[in-house]
Symmetry: D2
Subunit: 339 residues, 4 copies
């Protein structure tokens, strides 16, 4: 931590700040310039609140130097994390993995029809929501465990891994037999109790970015999971809230290369929620792969106009197949191929 | 709902949209202008996704007319909601109620010393956190039930009601005997399962605005609680995330008069989290009362420099007393007085 | 325009609103539903302020139906605009045009060395600033006309068109002989007097999006130029201001397909200003082309570590050549090629 | 400036960074901790781009210590700036000055009727726009010099000072004889050429905050004016752009106490543009005074329903008079009175 004293700080005030730092266990280095004194404090605990120093008299600015996360940082595992699944698929390696499926599992017919189509087009993971708490109290709330069973069955039949969203601690054990990847939604990105429990699971977690989360906050949430012992976390950019209202969210494509640099974790992108508009999904999926994403997760529905939720942002199967062809052209530009 | 067709829409396309609306149970009114056809659709269900119409061919724009909330709207109870407590205090009436106390309950000595000071200055409700999941996995996590007991005891001793944050469904029953008001934090504003359970409680709920929640989303979250039967909800503005980084959040003072107009629910303000900076708390507390807030909740600590959390935004007891004096001057400007 | 009356509106209040609309020249259609009356008003002038109706008694919501721009809309020229230059280059057609060069023209040696390198790598337009008003009053302010002359000379020598930023009306005539495209910077996006003057120029204008401009405001600024008679406008996305501080701005890649749909104008992307970080420029340039951009403008400097401005976001020539190779791989995915 | 090296930085890399700093004229202090080396660099020029160091190998983070502005900083004039006018009025002292008037000067009758009403209610400065470039190219553009003459005449008649917006350098000389305060609008906050010219004027400048300007950028724009020799600048908060769309802008009331602390300049607030909604103007005006504003500027129109611009956010004269009464109650809470 660096403490820059105000230009008019007195020696007494400087000594007071030094004493406060030492009391908190810091080792202090002092630099006295012509106009200003700067203190370097080494040995901060992660939970230190820098505002405790900021409010001391004659303190100008305080900057934290060490990053607040440890396990998720790129330096912890410079070669990057590759998550390997039982069927040989890896996420975070040379291959870009495409996940697809409906927003919600609605019925056997809907799910199997969609799963067959996405598998034929080249997707490797099947997505589908079983629990759907919605922002209005008056809406469809998901099929629950029955939906999970259908996902597992469809996955087996079409050779797809399965990802589904977990919303509460109580759902973890219920979901465990059915899914290959737990998805944590944007609204739960800072549900720390849930994250801590998932840290004890041995299955990979896809952690979506909160719509108003900074990249640092997002990585700190991932740290919760890793600190519990589960190192298989996939970060997933899905749009942030900005002043622009044309799209539901503004998809932050630049977060992809940034996370790849700051962290060793694989990075995915969700252009369906990132835009909320069907005809913007393919352009943003292409952009994500071009920017270096390790995975893309896309909402596809066998009949979007009949979907119980998010039909307007779901691709038709033939649109998805066309997108897959485009992604196969783009991947080599970043020395990748589609899995 | 209003559907504005594109200027070049064909009659077939218009008929297709009408058919889709009718299929969904709408009654349709058609207005044909010189350049454009506009359809009025009456009878929408609350859970209707307007994007299902937006994606139809030749549709220009779709606007929802009816508000997505019912019970929280001002028209539901034009005279406004007054929440009455067993000791005669009311929130939402002529008196402005000040709540104060430490971020976290840390010890008996800390809590009682603080409670005594705020009661003497004129606060009517004691705040204090018992559960403190933090954004870093490496920090102080609260005293739990022991903290709740201390809150109750201090409240009794100094004639204060008690408010504390509930973070999970499992904590509701545990907290019930100890507190007078449940607080739902900004991160849980869209934890719909929690909100639904709180709808079955008979104790008032203070619902904080999420840092990236629009006012409409916030009111819709309140609707979850009211739809469960609990009409005693207090909205609490506590700052939104913007590009400005000087303060932790930008406190949206204008949300106070807006919510008072849109809804019958009382509106509170939290200038401590709204700014994150001690010397900005008093100005923003004054601003909130001047703008029409029914309540203000402020972090006060008997010794902020020793606080285990949020010390930098906690007032000293004498600062709080001074603030109370200022608020007593301001309240009459809006035909109120401090409770 | 659609006016939704409040549910409890009286017949007198409805008649008052109708009268106000008729007074303003609207033709009014009325739809009376079970709970609510909705008025459709046709014939609005573009400069109508809908708030004048919003403030009338018992009015619930007012929505503008017709878009506020005319000439820039896709329906005005459904086939899209292709801007043709004297040397046969077109922007907005099948070919994606890459523009490159230094932030500022600093010297003949710097400019010619950079121009030679970018031409060799495949750029077709040379960029470079001659006027550099900066956010600090104490910095390098550009070479002025001497810089423009160098740009022209370098362009001729290496077969490149020339683009440079115009900041004031008084510079238009000065720049005219030297440049092929005027660039309007983000800060001038709503300098309407400047835009109006540029509407009388016969040279193409690249109009950058303001850092807090909605897409609608951006298109309305373009409308200013077109309404003066100059239809050759290139929209350029260059990042918007959000809460994320890791990058200078958040580049809104989704604005590219959105603008392509809403407008017939070509759309460019500036990943250098969009990110402000050298190692994020190539990923975002690739993303832009993958998302459908018609042009990309990139800062390249023969020796970025010596640049007088923006060195940290400028590519080295070899990095730019590598990027060009990647873009040649990606363009066919969107049925384009690099010019 | 502080340069924190990455944890794995080699001695060669550290020496390279030191050399680069020295080359740029810095004096360098080195602190070597157990895990990390930190360099303190003293003597930076204001125009130094810290990204030039950020991009060097093995550099972790770079923080600027000294503030980028000098003349506007509170330390430059700790007692605060009081701007004195020929009629004895001061802005920045014990008295809070209220400015009011129409958005645009529309006619003699409109202006004089409004001026009479606001003077009677206690306003001390008359506002009114003479030049009105609008975001649509198809709207009313102002009365020009004729409007300025009317302002001057109305000001003389009713004992009011006059403020009006300057939009271009060419208008400065034209406006000089008619106005007492130049207003710089939000869109021109970073029109540095205009700011530099106004730095040579001897009349006070009210500098509005840009809708997406950080407080630091705003103060740096004020620095442009002061660095030209004109120290009489009034900062004016008028709302920032956020994700919330209920109001046109989100008025950042906390910017008032922040600017009062960072700078010696007086701070005003514009609740009319800050909210864009008539019934939110009074609450936010009260909030601004309660938070410590030195001045409030409010749009008032003798007949808002007939206003050519911004009628929906203009107060009726009787509403303004009522607001003045409320402000007189509030001001003593901050040891002020209404001028």
């Amino acid at each position: 931590m660096i403490v820059a004293m105000q230009e008019n700080a007195t020696e007494d005030q400087i000594q007071h700040v030094i004493a406060e730092l030492v009391k908190r266990g810091f080792e202090v280095h002092r630099s006295t310039g012509v106009t200003q004194t700067v203190l370097g404090a080494v040995g901060a605990k992660v939970d230190f609140d820098i505002r405790d120093i900021e409010v001391l008299p004659a303190v100008g600015q305080v900057h934290r130097i060490s990053s607040p996360y440890k396990l998720v940082g790129r330096t912890f595992r410079p070669e990057g994390t590759e998550i390997r699944f039982r069927n040989g698929l890896t996420i975070g390696g040379k291959e870009v993995v495409i996940m697809a499926g409906p927003c919600s599992v609605e019925s056997r017919a809907q799910l199997f029809s969609t799963a067959e189509a996405i598998a034929a087009a080249g997707a490797r993971v099947l997505r589908g929501g079983a629990f759907k708490p919605r922002s209005s109290p008056y809406t469809f709330q998901g099929m629950g465990e029955e939906g999970l069973k259908l996902l597992r069955e469809a996955g087996e039949k079409y050779g797809l891994l399965v990802i589904s969203e977990v919303m509460e601690i109580s759902q973890i054990d219920l979901m465990e037999p059915y899914i290959d990847i737990y998805q944590v939604g944007a609204r739960n990105m800072q549900n720390f109790n849930l994250l801590r429990e998932l840290g004890h699971s041995r299955k990979p977690i896809m952690l979506k970015r909160g719509i108003s989360a900074t990249i640092e906050e997002w990585l700190l949430s991932a740290e919760y999971i890793l600190s519990g012992g589960n190192y298989n976390v996939i970060l997933c950019e899905r749009g942030i809230r900005t002043f622009e209202t044309f799209t539901r969210n503004t998809m932050d494509i630049s977060a992809i290369p940034i996370c790849k640099k700051l962290s060793h974790l694989p990075v995915a992108a969700d252009p369906s929620h990132g835009t909320g508009l069907r005809d913007k999904v393919a352009p943003m999926a292409r952009a994500a792969v071009a920017a270096g994403a390790d995975s893309v997760i896309v909402e596809v529905h066998c009949a979007p106009e009949k979907a119980l939720s998010d039909g307007a942002q779901s691709l038709y199967p033939n649109q998805f197949a066309e997108l897959m062809d485009q992604l196969r052209v783009i991947a080599p530009a970043v020395e990748r191929k589609i899995a």
